[in-house]
């Protein structure tokens, strides 16, 4: 173990940037021992988070979420499908998470990022387990037609805690979702009723006049933490994620139920106390995120 | 099992261990240097196992885990059988069943100079010694012993080579001579070269002898000493009946 000692001797003479690059772990541990992180955050604090609803005009619901510099753009497009015979009065949600080459130097065109399908899967698992959306609300004509909500999330800037930001943008896009008013035409196809036609003579009765917004019960939020020795670092940046490899993502819904406890391996074992600490940090964070979401929604209503 | 003083690992010696087992506690051992062989690692004060196998101890202070695998991880001073896959200006590239090809410098032969570089066809089987095995580098081989003599190293002509586990090849090399070779050697005359990397080469005057020996060795892969003896004797009886 000669290296850390050697670096310790060198650190006094080395420039900070060089030290950071050569001995990244040592650099971080120095900060951690002072209970601060290189970006001046305390260990348990998440980065500044902003949320903007309605970022994409061509979508039925959309949101732009930023946690630090991690940026996610989520948009929902509603399409009509024939429901399956097992659940004739349920719609469906299809979630896809994309990491286009613009988001990170690691992703190149034609070679999709390894993480993207995994995050897609986690998102649909989390959203379905939380029961946030009642799929029955997406039904139009039982057995004949139902909405399929295509939710596409694009990572515009990847700087750690991708899942947290993606989940935030996804739930925000759902709370912004405005379902178009539609009716059934003679051919059995669903057609949109234009807004300006509303009030004047309608050829057909709309099938979903009352169902323009989804009622979202128990919205899930998540927080990713790094476990390193005895430290717990909330909301890591990409640099932190690459240096300290043990990640724990805790998902809680607004009624504090656990929707996900995700720890894929990592050199550090999670003991019960660490599990409880992570959950406690997430509880706090869920409150913050709920406020941010409420604020964004009320901001929309004023407009 | 002989019990040893001082909270020692005696309890585990000659027992089967699996990765993660802590077998030696250094804090309870005072003023004693110990030597660690393959399959063990030091983690602060604890010596833990990283490969499944039997923990061995050799006086005064050597510990190692005896394992058996299909892949070979090169280790300095091992004698192995390698196959030439390519020859470059300075080195032959040798396949040794390891993660990387090994280099055999063209001068690593007895009295080797630039003028008498040996010519090996691709596919030649060589009996060689590992001289360097550092992580992150290709291992280096030599066809001489430590004093620069050719000893028995070099190309193996004719005969038959087959692969087995590294555990079996180590057993074949153990002393006293292992039961199967002992039994075979009493009745048949043959040449054998065993590489620690799980390769065995056999040669004899008649092809049938080669086949008998090779089969007997391959069959002993998962047999105990006594079973080996019985198996070898049965095989030998068969040919004697036939001839």
């Amino acid at each position: 173990m000669g290296v850390p000692d050697a670096s310790g001797d060198l650190s006094s003479e080395m420039e900070v940037d060089a030290f950071r690059r050569l001995f990244p772990l040592r650099y971080f541990e120095r900060h951690l021992s002072e209970s601060v992180r290189p970006d001046a955050r305390p260990l348990g604090r998440a980065r500044d988070t902003t949320l903007a609803l309605g970022a994409v005009a061509s979508a039925h619901g959309s949101a732009l979420a930023k946690i630090g510099s991690t940026t996610m753009l989520a948009a929902i497009k509603m399409e009509v499908m024939t429901p399956s015979t097992e659940s004739p009065d349920e719609g469906c949600i299809a979630i896809d998470f994309h990491m286009p080459p613009i988001c990170s130097p690691i992703v190149r065109p034609g070679r999709p990022a390894e993480a993207a399908p995994v995050i897609s899967k986690q998102l649909s698992d989390t959203i379905s387990s939380s029961g946030m959306i009642n799929l029955k609300e997406l039904s139009l004509v039982s057995g004949k037609a139902a909405w399929i909500a295509y939710l596409d999330i694009y990572c515009l800037d990847a700087d750690g805690a991708l899942f947290d930001a993606a989940l935030l943008s996804a739930v925000a896009a759902f709370s912004h979702l405005q379902i178009p008013i539609v009716s059934l035409n003679d051919d059995g196809k669903i057609v949109v009723i234009l807004e300006e036609d509303d009030g004047t003579k309608l050829e057909k009765e709309p099938v979903n006049r009352e169902k323009r917004k989804l009622t979202l019960s128990s919205i899930p939020f998540s927080l990713t933490c790094i476990l390193h020795k005895n430290y717990i670092l909330a909301d890591p940046t990409a640099e932190e994620e690459s240096i300290m490899e043990t990640l724990v993502t805790v998902g809680l819904d607004s009624s504090s139920r656990l929707v996900s406890f995700y720890k894929p391996g990592g050199p550090v074992l999670a003991y019960t106390s660490a599990v409880q600490d992570c959950v406690a940090l997430t509880r706090q964070r869920v409150k913050e995120l709920q406020e941010i979401l409420d604020e964004a929604i009320s901001g929309m209503e004023i407009d | 099992m002989d019990s040893k003083p001082s909270g020692s690992p005696a309890t585990f010696v000659d027992h089967l261990v699996v990765p993660g087992d802590l077998v030696v506690d250094l804090s309870s051992m005072t003023n004693q240097t110990i030597k660690l062989g393959g399959g063990l690692r030091q983690d602060c004060d604890a010596i833990s196992v990283m490969k499944a196998g039997k923990l061995r101890f050799s006086k005064p202070n050597k510990y190692w885990v005896e394992t058996s695998q299909k892949r070979y991880v090169p280790c300095v001073e091992d004698t192995i059988l390698g196959i030439v896959v390519d020859s470059k200006a300075d080195n032959f590239l040798i396949d040794i069943k390891g993660p990387a090809l090994a280099f055999l410098p063209v001068l690593a032969f007895e009295g080797g100079t630039r003028r008498n570089i040996p010519k090996f066809e691709v596919g030649t089987l060589l009996y060689v010694r590992v001289v360097k095995a550092n992580p992150g580098m290709n291992p280096e081989l030599s066809c001489t012993d430590a004093s620069g003599k050719a000893a028995e190293f070099g190309a193996l002509k004719d005969g038959y080579m087959f692969e087995c586990s590294t555990g079996l090849s180590r057993m074949l090399l153990s002393s006293p001579t292992c039961p199967v070779l002992d039994a075979l050697g009493k009745k048949l005359s043959f040449e054998i070269a065993v590489g620690l990397n799980g390769r065995v080469w056999v040669n004899a005057n008649s092809p049938s002898t080669v086949i008998i020996v090779a089969n007997a060795i391959m069959n002993s892969e998962s047999l105990s000493g006594v079973q080996q003896k019985i198996m070898a004797e049965k095989l030998l009886q068969k040919i004697q009946v036939n001839s």
Partner: protein, 243 residues
């Protein structure tokens, strides 16, 4: 409230386990693992030279390929691959063979519930068989929450359909140690098994999760006993001959 299970199983009773190593001839290490009707075959190839792009060449690289029983791999299988890869990375010692790649191929033979944990157990046994250096073994267990909040372990496919929450947990094997009881404190905490990997589906309260954790931890001791025994029984075949 009790839950009726097939064959009169108690809630924390595991299905019959079986494990056999070295089932494939060509693979460098292999194992088949079954829990009741769920059966997974794992094969290990490597270490081979070189790492893939975007991987750290100063460490060994682990690659997991998931082969479903039928059809092509989708998002679910990609997630399984990622979980397996991360889990195995954390139990293997990656610094020992830098710039090498070890491939683990996981073939689902039959899925009757608790597939992911069965695959993790199979992969772990196969790594041992291949002699890949490991920090410790890992045992995986699937805990389920019934509507009533009752925890059952190791569900079948039929039982999975009735459950509202799942926790897939991976623990290190219980440490067999020479250290005296109680002295093994890890940074002030009593030695309890920490979680290597945790994946949950469905909703549960935090207390329920902790309950799962506790039950899983208790069962993991049984599992690691079984794993040790099955590894040892097969090892003893190999090694006893030398004795």
């Amino acid at each position: 409230m009790e839950i009726d299970r097939d064959h009169g199983r108690s809630p924390s009773q595991l299905r019959p386990l079986s494990c056999s190593r070295n089932v494939l001839h060509r693979a460098h290490g292999s194992a088949s693992w079954s829990q009741g009707e769920t059966k997974v075959l794992a094969a290990v190839y490597g270490p081979k030279a070189g790492t893939k792009k975007n991987e750290n060449p100063e460490k060994a690289c682990i690659e997991v390929i998931w082969k479903p029983k039928t059809g092509q791999i989708g998002k679910l299988e990609r997630e399984y691959e990622m979980i397996l890869k991360r889990t195995l990375q954390s139990i293997c010692i990656l610094t020992l063979n830098p710039n090498t790649t070890t491939s683990i191929i996981v073939q689902v033979v039959n899925d009757d519930g608790a597939l992911l944990v069965c695959a993790i157990n199979a992969a772990c046994a196969a790594l041992v068989d291949a002699g890949i250096p490991m920090k410790h073994l890992a045992v995986a267990i699937c805990c389920c929450l019934a509507e009533s909040g009752y925890v059952i372990l190791d569900p079948t496919k039929l039982e999975e359909l009735k459950m509202r929450g799942f926790a897939y947990l991976v623990f290190p094997n219980s440490v067999l140690s020479v250290l005296p009881e109680g002295s093994s404190l890890v940074e002030g905490e009593p030695m309890e098994n920490g979680i290597i990997t945790s994946v949950t589906h469905g909703v549960m309260s935090v207390e329920e999760y902790l309950k799962c954790l506790e039950r899983g931890r208790a069962a993991s001791a049984k599992l690691s006993d079984f794993l040790r025994r099955s590894l040892q029984s097969q090892l003893s075949n190999d090694s006893s001959k030398a004795a």
